[in-house]
Symmetry: C2
């Protein structure tokens, strides 16, 4: 509760310094709240996206359906300049059904879903199960001549551990209190990968390619992965979606319990046999995917832009409820609210519903590159092959487009349906008093914590990455990471209606306030290439860490 006095002080000074405009603002905010809290359509929008359209994997027909539907819906609400903006992505993929059955040593159905961008089985197939115990290309050679017709287990054996006690969390006052402090252990921005991460990512990618080639050469029948969540949750992912590089054989993610069961049989010298049937296919009619863009045009500062957005694509295991139909429904609802109450914002308020977020923030990156600023790709060709979030340093210089200087701010939503408790400023201290002021009339809906730390993993990074203000809210974590993120239960059911109404009102309020503010949102220092000294210091630090690791490993050997 230590943050309260600060907020109150800010409110008072804001009220004193701008009585008239504050009054108009508060009347508008009353109308935003009335429309957003008591005439909410957010769950209706959410239900259409999840139940009706279903999973929205980037490039899939269902994603295309979702894109088209958002255009129509935003037009129906009276938004302007509603259109799609395409960008190159790769192959489309979809599936209708998947079924895995253990045939021996005993019969039982197993829980599994396909890995995205892997082929279907073309009817029912059956085979003996083999665990591929290899972590290097040379170890693969042990399996030469042994995998024909086999179903190959590829994930590391990993015993299931005691679950973390906490399945569902709302932040306490104590948690929120701690968020006032800048954590100096964290990087200034989460928009770049750590040097270790890129090295690992590169290694993993190379080995995955080697395995892929090997399995094809050896005529393996199918591949199995272990779900990275237990408790029966099937947490999916995708193989490469690039034309000419998709995985050659059907691959599925098995529930952790069922993967471990097969492994235990193998450890005991058994050869489990399983049957499976996956109805999946690639779509190659259109290798583009599409962002949805729509606006409420501004008045006297029409060319200046305030944006809110969320990614429309999801994984395919369920219907992407909290990841991220929640964000889409809340940002769409914010636009609907503003339109319904007839605001005439000074700046243009624009919504961006991104595609390709799950595969590497592709949609928002494409948007930024096309409209705001571009940066060269990493000079290292191996680094360029990786997903953008593994890039250690997108190149310099940053080339600004004309809209760069007319851009004010982007607010993103992509952390589930949890209530907004505050906002992250991404190390931008200049926005702190502004956000504190905007939160003030909403203090009965949120604590309005202003957390100066950077937060990563989603589309605001694409803006932050070129020096533009891009923010995410501090949301209650709920059960997002423990059980919903990319799993087969991320459906309509786990999105909380009250939290969604609150988020919609907050997004509408922040978009409105940003569009009406006297000035565009203050910016951080422009990202620049680290100096040679800084690079040298980083390199030395990394080397020291490596040496320390080696010494520690030695000291752990028995004498």
């Amino acid at each position: 509760m230590a943050f309260r006095p600060l907020l109150l002080a800010t409110v008072l000074s804001a009220t004193i310094s701008g009585t008239v405009s504050a009054k108009n603002d508060l009347e508008t905010i009353n109308r935003i709240r009335d429309e957003g809290l008591y005439r909410s359509q957010v769950m209706h929008t959410l239900q259409h996206l999840t139940d009706r359209i279903g999973p929205r994997l980037t490039g899939s027909p269902q994603m295309q359906q979702a894109s088209a539907w958002t255009v129509q819906q935003l037009k129906d609400w009276g938004l302007e300049n509603v259109h799609l903006e395409g960008f190159a992505f790769g192959r489309g993929w979809s599936y209708d059904s998947a079924y895995v059955q253990m045939q021996s040593p005993r019969k039982a159905p197993l829980s599994a879903l396909p890995v995205a961008w892997t082929p279907g089985t073309n009817g029912s197939i059956e085979g003996d199960v083999v665990f591929l115990d290899a972590v290097t290309e040379s170890e693969l050679e042990k399996y030469r001549g042994k995998l024909a017709g086999k179903i190959v287990m590829l994930s590391e054996p990993e015993e299931i551990e005691e679950p973390k006690p906490e399945l569902f969390k709302r932040y306490t006052s104590e948690d929120l209190g701690k968020m006032k402090n800048l954590d100096l252990k964290r990087p200034a921005s989460n928009a770049h990968g750590a040097p270790d991460a890129i090295a690992q990512g590169r290694k993993r990618l190379a080995f995955r390619d080697a395995v892929s080639t090997f399995l094809k050469q050896e005529n393996a029948k199918a591949a199995l992965y272990r779900s990275s969540r237990d408790g029966g949750l099937i947490r999916v992912f995708g193989h490469d979606h690039t034309v000419g590089k998709t995985f050659p054989i059907p691959a599925l993610v098995l529930a952790a319990e069922h993967y471990q069961l097969l492994l235990r049989f193998i450890e005991q010298g058994e050869t489990p046999r399983i049957a499976m049937s996956v109805d999946a296919r690639f779509h190659d009619e259109d290798h583009n995917t599409y962002n949805t863009i729509a606006e409420i045009p501004g008045t006297d500062k029409n060319a200046e832009i305030v944006m809110i957005g969320a990614h429309l694509d999801s994984w395919h295991a369920s219907t992407g409820g909290v990841d991220n139909a929640a964000g889409v429904a809340a940002t769409m609802e914010a636009m609907r609210i503003l339109k319904a109450i007839g605001v005439k914002p000074k700046r243009t308020i624009r919504i961006g519903l991104w595609s390709g977020e799950e595969q590497g923030l592709y949609g928002s990156r494409a948007y930024v590159e096309q409209h705001l600023a571009s940066r060269p790709k990493p000079s290292d060709p191996a680094e360029r092959e990786l997903k953008p979030w593994y890039w250690t340093s997108p190149g310099f210089p940053i080339s600004k487009k004309p809209d760069y200087d007319r851009f004010s701010v982007y607010f993103n939503m992509d952390n589930g349906s949890g209530k907004f408790r505050g906002i992250y400023t991404e190390n931008n201290i200049a926005v702190k008093p502004i956000f504190a002021e905007w939160f003030a009339p909403l203090s009965d809906l949120t604590e309005g914590i202003v957390n100066t730390n950077a937060t990563g993993g989603t589309d605001h990074e694409s803006f932050d990455n070129v020096g533009l203000p891009g923010f995410q809210f501090v949301q209650d974590p709920l059960d997002y990471m423990p059980r919903l993120h990319h799993t087969h239960i991320d459906s309509f059911d786990h999105v909380l209606p009250d939290d969604m109404r609150q988020a919609s009102v907050m997004l509408a309020t922040f978009a409105y306030k940003a569009a009406m503010a006297d000035k565009r949102m203050p910016r951080k220092p422009m990202p620049t290439e680290p100096s040679e000294l800084l690079q040298q210091l980083e390199k030395e630090k990394a080397e020291k860490r490596q040496r320390a690791k080696e010494r520690k490993a030695l000291s752990e050997l028995p004498l």
Copy 2:
């Protein structure tokens, strides 16, 4: 920590009063601990029961396989008088596979498992889905002529709520501290159903029979229930297993998220269509099922009996890991430990591995009735139809068998794999100092809480019900109820090896101490028929509660 001084005081007095026998005891307990903690085979036993044999539904071939295997294993360990004791149960049932696929309004696999004792589909079937919105027999008539070929949803619509925060719990010192106190709100024993429960149970059973008959008459194709746990967990149950009364059409339990999805489509005026295939069948070769019995014979008090036990049967969704292969493996391990260290107990130590627990504690009830004491069934024929745990009052008098007076005590394990933190005494205060003494040399393994409350729901009730000492331990709840109990993830994976070793040692120690004690375990007052006055008072209380409920409902109406 308020319980510690009490325990220490007890240890001291015990040591002073019986130095020699205490010394011998402690040396034996050293050997029990050495064998049970450091040469444990409990997880090996558990793995055979779960991974290898699989689900052990009462009356199924796998349950018969489990019974036969326990006999062989207990013989191999050198136990004596190892045999099966059969009792009449009903039809056997098993399944190999189950698959449900949504065909429209969009295509997606749905998570489902069959309800036990319902027929298979005999290949793939497909049909439109209808929700049966009826709670009385007369409401069923609305559906007359409308269900032919339909797949009928039978569970109440129930929106998925925020999950309880705590998924996994170990008792804190504070929790344990509270357990010292007798809770006067709880009944003296959990062995009888509450009057409300019986009325409800009777009503539910009658309506379920009516629905069953109606669905058959109307040629419905299959039935769907909603899992009673969300998060993708499939929590199964069984329909009637009685010959001539089994459910007429295939029935499945659907994951809550998928059940709710179908319901939401129906609410919006859609008719979902689903395909399914269930390979299941009844087994009618043998309508009996079997308890496993084995002994370490006593020496000078051979005819007196100390028992430990657990139910061997499980539900069919997974492999019954915590419910109750854990209890079986730990009690078997306790017998193995005692045999391995060559104890020569004064009293005979007997193990009972029960069948039919999940359907109504049938195995332990049959055992008690055959060997120890019998009680007439309820006089009300409708009450007799219900599962025994709905009976308000098994009749009087209790007829003792010769072994009744030679019986000392029964220790049961059936609350998952959670560490033993103490024991429930079922309102028996005379055993309190005895248990405190036995816990003393194990104080580095357990807090040894002596909780005088009654605890219910499993096989110790069958003993308590006829006035014999039957106990369960206070176990850490872990994730037993939140996600494992009767669900499709109750497998080997969620049983905790360290806790299992601790439980085995505790069971072996308590069995040994009971077998060596000077006296047989002290008993509670014999259950007797409540006096007319007590019955009158209970009736008045129930009537008052009912009136209060009605007045409250009235006061809640708007004026």
